[in-house]
């Protein structure tokens, strides 16, 4: 497309070119009247770097095929469920980063703060007098939330770069982790065990196969109904709505994704004579969080202000948005989301240890968010993207491990994918600012 017509002085702009440039950046949902036109607009947006989910899904499919060719175990039910587990960490931590990345900030501490929170949770659950598990979980979310909130406060109050503040926060959290672990499990050798069945079941427990189908069908039906109601309302209000075919296609895609997840979960992954079937609860946890956070970002004032601050903080300030409050709140939510990741992590491992790779995990989280289309410069990105990006990171991680290649290529391949994602992000931004 001709990017030069978007500038502030497009004197020679022909009307046609002008429309072309508008289309290139607009949401296809509101510009297209037909499926064909929709596809055309969508393509021009892909070239602009604002591509949505499909390129990520295609890339994911390519990686999956590669690993399956190299190792037939890759697509086995047991490995796929394991993969879902690993993906859940990256997704959750990626979603945590989305809150701050949208502001143009970053939080490098959450890899360790989540472990600090989880340590508190397990400490509270220690026999012989365990606290009620909801309370323990609440503490496990509150600790990283407060930690990140304080970092947000320092970032806004002293106007320090969040990169440096949260890098210091990362070290501080690691120190805290050692300190807290020492008090919680003095004889544990740097680790504390999980003694609660409810939390253990986040991973180990599954929905029954029938329940899995019911939940999936209900979720898809609900989402589909919401889409259709929204479109109908818009049409009733005489506003443009996406063509019915596009909406149906989206619902179909959701249904396919749901069916795939349930099919994988319901396949017997037991070893030997034991039968293990059903979708692990963790899938539901991720689903609930992604829906809740997407609602928060997309449908509330708070979410709108996060995007506004990421796009143009000065404009938001002049419009009366309380920048400090929104920023601190976003950091706090990032911390709380990291807390959820910490709980999931302990459920997977059955313990927390001081050896948790918090620095590495947080980079994977940023990678997940950026691969999923969240800009490092703020203002662009979605929670769903972090889920897809988390899946990509997990597939690479899992697949290379399955090939027995060891840690070295794992790091290098993840680095390559992350670099590619950041390059796409930066080029897209340069293109739109140079325009």
């Amino acid at each position: 497309m001709s990017t030069d017509v978007q500038g502030p002085s497009p004197e020679a702009t022909e009307p046609d070119e002008e429309i072309a440039s508008e289309v290139a950046l607009a949401a296809p949902e509101v510009m297209a009247d037909s499926l064909g036109e929709y596809a055309k607009i969508w393509l021009s947006r892909v070239r602009n770097g604002d591509s949505g989910a499909l390129p990520v899904i295609l890339g994911l499919a390519a990686i999956v095929i590669y690993f399956q060719v190299r190792s037939s175990l890759f697509l086995s039910a047991g490995n796929l469920v394991n993969l879902i587990g690993q993906a859940a960490f990256f997704m959750m931590l990626g979603m945590a980063e989305v809150f701050v990345l949208l502001l143009g900030e970053i939080d490098l501490s959450i890899g360790y703060t989540s472990a600090v929170g989880a340590t508190f949770t397990l400490w509270l659950l220690l026999p012989p007098n365990p606290a009620p598990w909801p309370l323990a979980v609440l503490v496990g979310l509150a600790v990283p939330a407060i930690f990140s909130g304080l970092q947000g406060f320092v970032v806004t109050w002293l106007r320090l770069p969040s990169f440096v503040v949260t890098l210091a926060g990362q070290l501080l959290a690691l120190g805290l982790l050692l300190e807290v672990m020492d008090s919680a499990a003095p004889n544990g050798g740097g680790s504390i065990r999980l003694y609660n069945n409810v939390l253990t079941d986040i991973y180990a427990g599954s929905l029954s196969p029938v329940a899995g189908w019911i939940v999936m069908a209900a979720a898809v039906a609900l989402a589909g109904a919401l889409f259709l109601v929204r479109d109908t309302r818009r049409r009733a209000g005489n506003l443009t709505a996406p063509p019915l075919s596009v909406t149906l296609l989206k619902i179909a895609a959701m249904a396919v994704a749901g069916v795939v997840v349930v099919l994988i979960g319901n396949t017997n992954r037991g070893v030997g004579l034991t039968v293990v079937r059903g979708v692990p609860w963790v899938v539901l946890v991720v689903l609930v969080v992604v829906v809740a956070w997407s609602f928060l970002l997309g449908r509330t004032r708070f979410g709108r202000y996060i995007y506004a601050i990421g796009g143009n903080a000065e404009a938001a300030r002049r419009a009366g948005v309380n920048l400090s409050r929104i920023r601190i709140l976003a950091f706090t939510l990032a911390g709380a989301t990291a807390g959820i990741m910490g709980i999931i992590y302990t459920s997977y491992l059955g313990s927390v240890s001081t050896g948790v790779p918090g620095g590495q995990n947080v980079l994977y989280a940023v990678g997940a968010a950026v691969i999923g289309g969240t800009s490092l410069f703020g203002g662009r990105g979605k929670m769903v993207g972090a889920v897809l990006g988390g899946l990509v990171v997990a597939v690479i991680y899992n697949g290379l491990e399955l090939l027995g290649l060891g840690a070295a290529p794992q790091y290098m391949w993840t680095a390559a994918v992350l670099l590619a994602a950041v390059t796409v992000d930066t080029l897209a931004r340069r293109r739109s600012t140079a325009a």
């Binding site: 502030p8 004197e11 702009t13 607009a26 309302r233 506003l239 509330t300 506004a308 000065e314 404009a315």
Partner: protein, 314 residues
């Protein structure tokens, strides 16, 4: 010290004598501002002289502003009538920006009064001004490129329904406002502002001001960054504002634009109002004269503006 009446009279018939003006950097001027109210009981209707109908929406009386020892504005007395475009012109450093920042609540004047719809008001923050219905569109427009037109127009004032953003209601209102302003070139109000042309962006910024029920819209160099076509779009927009009975102040360097759109022209020079009157009284040459020397031979004969300062009401 001169009285305000003498100040006001100078632009038309005594400007030459006053240049270079000792008042501009005179820090003791404050004393004379203190007693000006006592001298300004004469409520001569200022609009009688410059063709406005009805009382002015905004009436500035003897506004003065200094930054340290530098006198940036002195004795600015100016009416802004409803439904008219008042162009404020002047060379760099003439005080145009300070003047609009005072009106929009960013600066508070050191002395003088701001009379809004007959009542004296004190504008200490931009919000004070916005609450009255004074909307300022700065040159940088303050738009979020990543948000669509609707989100930008409602930024900070989003409507909610059941704890959710009322997207449909906001979109309808945004479309209506743009339609009222005859902004027809945007393809969809759901496109990001970053995809718009310069004129369209200006239109969105103005529409946002109008939607907030602005009674006075101040445009700071609205056409400075625009090409010919886009400039025409913005000038048409200003005319639409006027027809909606909104008072408009346009700050501009571009005298062509000023002449094509302004009903009244106020010329600032070195912090003083050297002329104000119906646009028809001035041609480009006389405006340039006034901007650069504070007087114009071409106008000496008509002595057009008897009311710039003498008309202050209290």
């Amino acid at each position: 010290m001169t009285t305000p009446s003498a100040e006001g009279a100078r632009p038309a018939n005594a400007g030459r004598a006053s240049s270079p003006d000792p008042h501009v950097t005179d820090a003791t001027d404050g004393t004379d501002a203190m007693d000006t109210p006592d001298h300004t009981q004469d409520p001569t209707p200022p609009q009688a002289g410059d063709g406005a109908d009805g009382p002015p929406l905004l009436h500035l009386v003897n506004i003065g502003k200094s930054f340290g020892p530098v006198r940036v504005l002195s004795h600015i007395t100016l009416d802004i009538p409803i439904g008219q475009v008042t162009a404020v012109v002047g060379d760099n450093g003439a005080g145009k920006s300070t003047l609009i920042k005072t009106i929009s609540g960013i600066y508070h004047q050191d002395h003088g009064q701001i009379i809004w719809q007959g009542q004296e008001v004190h504008l200490h923050t931009p919000k004070d001004a916005a609450d009255l219905g004074i909307a300022t569109v700065y040159q940088d427009l303050a738009l979020c490129d990543n948000l669509d037109i609707v989100a930008n127009m409602f930024l900070g004032r989003e409507e909610t329904k059941h704890f959710q953003l009322d997207e449909i209601g906001m979109e309808k209102a945004a479309r209506q406002t743009l339609a009222d302003l005859s902004v027809v070139t945007v393809r969809s109000v759901r496109q990001p502002v970053g995809s718009l042309s310069g004129g369209q962006r200006q239109a969105v910024a103005v529409a946002r001001a109008v939607m907030r029920e602005a009674k006075l819209v101040i445009l700071d160099e609205p056409t400075a960054a625009l090409g010919v076509t886009q400039t025409r779009v913005v000038l048409d927009l200003i005319k639409r504002l006027k027809s909606q009975n909104i008072a408009v102040i346009v700050i501009s360097h571009n005298l062509n634009d000023v002449q094509s759109v302004a009903d009244r022209i106020a010329v600032l020079r070195l912090g003083r109002l050297v002329a104000v009157g119906p646009a028809s009284q001035y041609d480009a040459e006389s405006i340039v004269d006034l901007m650069t020397t504070g007087t114009s031979k071409r106008l000496a004969a008509t002595s057009a503006e008897p009311s710039a300062g003498s008309s202050s009401e209290h």
